[in-house]
């Protein structure tokens, strides 16, 4: 049969005489397939109420990132915040806070880097991360930040161990330069701490993973706040209350900032792209994270000067930060696995641009 414009003028052909193997690639958002219950008849469809995908298969691929990456996001934040606390503690002469924060920074960054390497497809090639400096790659920028931070934290730790062991390191006449080196290492680490905590948000946002990409404007603030409350919380656990007032303040500021940033993020995001943050396992983790953040922040604010309350609040904040990172990571991976999260927001923004009169930037054209 030919296809012509007169087709529409023909009388309708009888239904049912044809053996129809209609297999629906067009499906309702709830997964129901259109078509007659017995498969022999066609049932009317309402195209607007459906979204189309290719057999429900994902459009984008999820990052092959396991819980190691969530651990790194958490540990990188703890390290970054601890680096700042160590520098502040040194400049304001809080020796215990300084020691504990330095050790926390190097331990967290060391464990985090190990987790990163373990998650590589080819762990033995981890040094290729420093093969080039590439500003378009958040992973490359982050690798350099991580390397720089680790170097600074390493030097500070060596000097701290030297102090702890009664200055027994055989440094000879170099010892008189130590104060300068120490301040330099502390300030260097403190300066790279915030970038270390913030770049991971860009790393996630600079992907085609719908939930991460759509959270791009607020995710750096969420991650930085999470780093503040986690590092403050860790100091509250490890250090006697006599020296932790700044850590408590940092933790409270972090908790408040995270609650605000998360709320703003949820409000601004495309409702469909934000859905994985609210449902399933990631949704549960993020709800717990919010409660633990509020509880820990409140505890630090009200009872942080008591050792017991400080430890409990600190642990609660650490757990909150870990849950935030794992929740955001998993929500993104879930969003990549379901074509709906890719297709629906994209169709909506394309339609919005067309409605606004912008018709020249579509990937689909007829000429």
């Amino acid at each position: 049969m030919t296809t012509s414009e007169f087709d529409s003028l023909r009388p309708p052909e009888p239904v049912g005489g044809r053996r129809g193997g209609r297999r629906g690639t067009r499906r309702r958002a709830d997964g129901l397939r259109p078509g007659g219950a017995d498969g022999s008849r066609e049932m009317p469809m309402v195209p607007e109420a459906e979204f189309t995908s290719y057999y429900g298969r994902p459009v984008v691929k999820p990052a092959p990132w396991g819980p190691e990456i969530a651990a790194y996001l958490f540990l990188g934040g703890v390290a970054g915040g601890s680096g700042m606390l160590a520098a502040g503690a040194r400049l304001t002469e809080r020796p215990t806070l300084r020691r504990n924060s330095r050790l926390a920074a190097i331990s967290a960054v060391g464990l985090g880097a190990a987790a990163l390497v373990k998650d590589l497809g080819r762990p033995e090639r981890f040094l290729n991360m420093l093969r080039t400096v590439k500003l378009t790659s958040p992973m490359s920028v982050g690798s350099w930040i991580l390397a720089g931070f680790s170097a600074g934290a390493g030097v500070a730790t060596v000097l701290e161990v030297d102090t702890m062991t009664g200055r027994r390191f055989p440094l000879g006449s170099l010892r008189r330069f130590l104060p300068v080196v120490e301040v330099g290492a502390d300030l260097w680490t403190a300066a790279l701490g915030p970038p270390l905590a913030a770049y991971t948000a860009v790393l996630l946002a600079d992907t085609a993973t719908p939930t991460w990409n759509d959270a791009r404007d607020e995710l750096p603030f969420v991650f930085v706040s999470s780093a503040m409350l986690a590092s403050g919380g860790l100091a509250m656990v490890t250090t006697p209350v006599a020296e932790t007032r700044p850590a408590r303040t940092l933790a409270v500021l972090g908790a408040a900032a995270e609650l605000v940033a998360t709320t703003v993020m949820h409000r601004r995001m495309d409702p469909v792209a934000a859905e994985p943050l609210h449902q399933g396992r990631p949704g549960t983790m993020l709800r717990w994270s919010e409660m633990l953040t509020a509880a820990g922040g409140l505890g630090a604010l009200v009872g942080g000067h008591r050792r017991g309350v400080a430890v409990v609040s600190g642990l609660s904040l650490l757990a909150a930060s870990a849950l935030t990172r794992l929740g955001v990571l998993e929500a993104g991976i879930e969003s990549a696995k379901d074509p709906r999260y890719t297709i629906e927001p994209q169709k909506r923004r394309l339609a919005a641009r067309r409605a606004a009169g912008i018709t020249d930037d579509s990937i689909t054209t007829v000429g």
Binding site: M1, E42, Y54, Y55, S143, A191, A201, A257
Partner: protein, 335 residues
Amino acid sequence: MGQLSGPTDPTLDANWANPQHRKGFFTDTSICIGCKACEVACKEWNHNPRDGDLELLGSSYDNTGALGASTWRHVAFIEQGAERIESARESGRALVSLGMPGVRGAGPTDPLPDESDMRPNTGPPDTAEFRWLMSSDVCKHCTHAGCLDVCPTGALFRTEYGTVVVQDDVCNGCGTCVAGCPFGVIERRDDGMASANTRHTAESAEVPNVGVAQKCTLCYDRLVDGQTPACAQTCPTTSIKFGDHDDLVTQARERVRELHAQGMTEARLYGANDLDGVGGTGSVFLLLDEPEVYGLPPDPRVPTADLPRMFNRAGIAAVGMIAAAAASFLTGRRR
């Protein structure tokens, strides 16, 4: 570093001393017969191992599933009934009425222009009742490639032909490119040992490049020798065309015009627009329905286009963190 979005010549952006004409594919799905010869030729030439467990996927004749680390050509099969055809036809017409240039006589009420319709129909068999869409998907070799932008090691690079290729011996399998691709093309190759299928144990020893990101190279090894990529060479219906990108886009536009003149207003191009979110693609497709029907994103955008803004936001957040720490140490009683 070239520009992050918008129309550009990617080969020049990559500072090649000897830039060649940008190469690409034009995949005309209106003449694809779904023979999958392209899938086979690609696997053979590139020594790609088997994907999956040879299971039937229950999606028409498509048992390949999707593009992946070991599948660089994937033929999609879509079965559609009358009303779906009509809605595809309508969405194609809607594109025309948006003021897209270059199509004549294809509006909904325009009469067909000449008497060519009176001649016997020598086109592909088509009825108004049902149809079978077949489309061979492949890496898009984007002008602004998300995978290439985010690769931290430099393993992914822009060739002198404007294509995007992974260096197997440099990639450390970080997986960032997998998330960076707006089309879900590139993937990290696993060792194939996830399943209990015993056939794997014999084959897995031969799997090359395990743990490394893999995707279509547009047969870079053949291009440097002046050869046609394996899939295009093997395609029996010339549905897959290979050549200079600019020529292919011209050819693709002519083909759409031709199909619209025949009343197939569902025909449309995918990736032929320099102004789209990825700056146009090296692999251009002629589709007969909305892109998402074929598993393609309807409005892809290279994530890196927003990277300056993202780094900016992260910078503000980092400064805020420093300010918060400074405030923590400077305020309150000394205790």
